[in-house]
């Protein structure tokens, strides 16, 4: 729903990385691997 979208948009950037929660190696690797090949 738009509320949910709104909610997540506040907490996560468009790539799914949290604005506030610290990241670690595994999370960042997962994030990067989900970002499609940027070429």
């Amino acid at each position: 729903s738009s509320e949910t979208k709104e909610h997540f948009a506040c907490k996560y950037d468009r790539y799914g990385d949290s604005y506030t929660a610290d990241t670690d190696m595994a999370q960042l690797k997962g994030l990067f691997s989900r970002m499609s090949n940027l070429r």
Binding site: D17, S18, Y19, T20, D22, T23, D24, M25, L28, K29
Partner: protein, 217 residues
């Protein structure tokens, strides 16, 4: 000039050993010299280009095909069990000797060629030349062997070096990835901390604004 020395046992007397030496210019088809020796006496002869053509024609074999057969039987480039040699001495004196060579098919063999060889005047000289040629071939092959062995060693060390470099490159790639992630995480978490503190400030600012309003309300 090319030369080939081989050991042959005539079918008519398999217990005796002869040595066959073929000498030719680049192409066997332009003719070749034959020397045969039993270690004591020696006989020599030549097959000319025309005789090769005539022989091929008599057998109704294409000339090229015939020369191929000659290479297989006389230069031992074919399967040795498919070819036979035979030697028959002319007069008792051993002055003249007939040398023939044939190809075995399943149950029949056909003659590829035959020739009369004349006894050489100084067999010792011929035999010395043959042994010298063999020793010269051995030296050449030993040198070639040594070169190939050294080349082998060089290539082996190249393979070792490259495997080492490849390993280093793979490790460097993994290290690079780890290092970059570590740095990325530090910088990113700095920004996230900043965002958290800004959000906290904003929250307090909003409370401060809404606070008095709330009271007034």
């Amino acid at each position: 000039m090319e030369k080939k020395v081989s050991r042959i046992c005539p079918v008519s007397d398999p217990s005796t050993t002869y040595f066959l030496q073929i000498t030719w210019e680049k192409d066997l088809g332009v003719g070749f010299d034959v020397i045969l020796t039993d270690g004591q006496l020696a006989w020599a002869g030549r097959v000319t280009e025309d005789e090769i053509s005539k022989e091929a024609a008599d057998m109704e074999m294409e000339r090229e095909k015939y020369i191929e057969e000659l290479q297989k039987v006389l230069l031992f480039r074919g399967q040795t069990d498919k070819y036979n040699f035979d030697i028959s001495k002319g007069e008792a004196s051993g002055e003249c000797l007939n040398f023939s060579y044939e190809k075995n098919l399943k149950d029949v063999s056909f003659r590829l060629g035959s020739m009369d060889l004349q006894a050489v005047s100084s067999p010792a000289e011929t035999i010395r030349e043959m042994i010298s040629y063999c020793l010269h071939s051995i030296m050449g092959l030993q040198t070639k062997n040594e070169d190939l062995r050294k080349e082998n060693e060089r290539l082996l060390s190249d393979v070792d070096d490259l495997q080492g470099q490849l390993l280093k490159c793979v490790e460097a790639k993994e290290e690079l990835e780890t290092e970059l992630y570590k740095r990325f995480i530090l910088v990113l978490n700095e920004k996230k901390a900043k965002i958290r503190s800004l959000q906290q400030c904003l929250k307090e600012a909003k409370e401060a604004t809404e606070g008095p309003t709330l009271k007034r309300d």
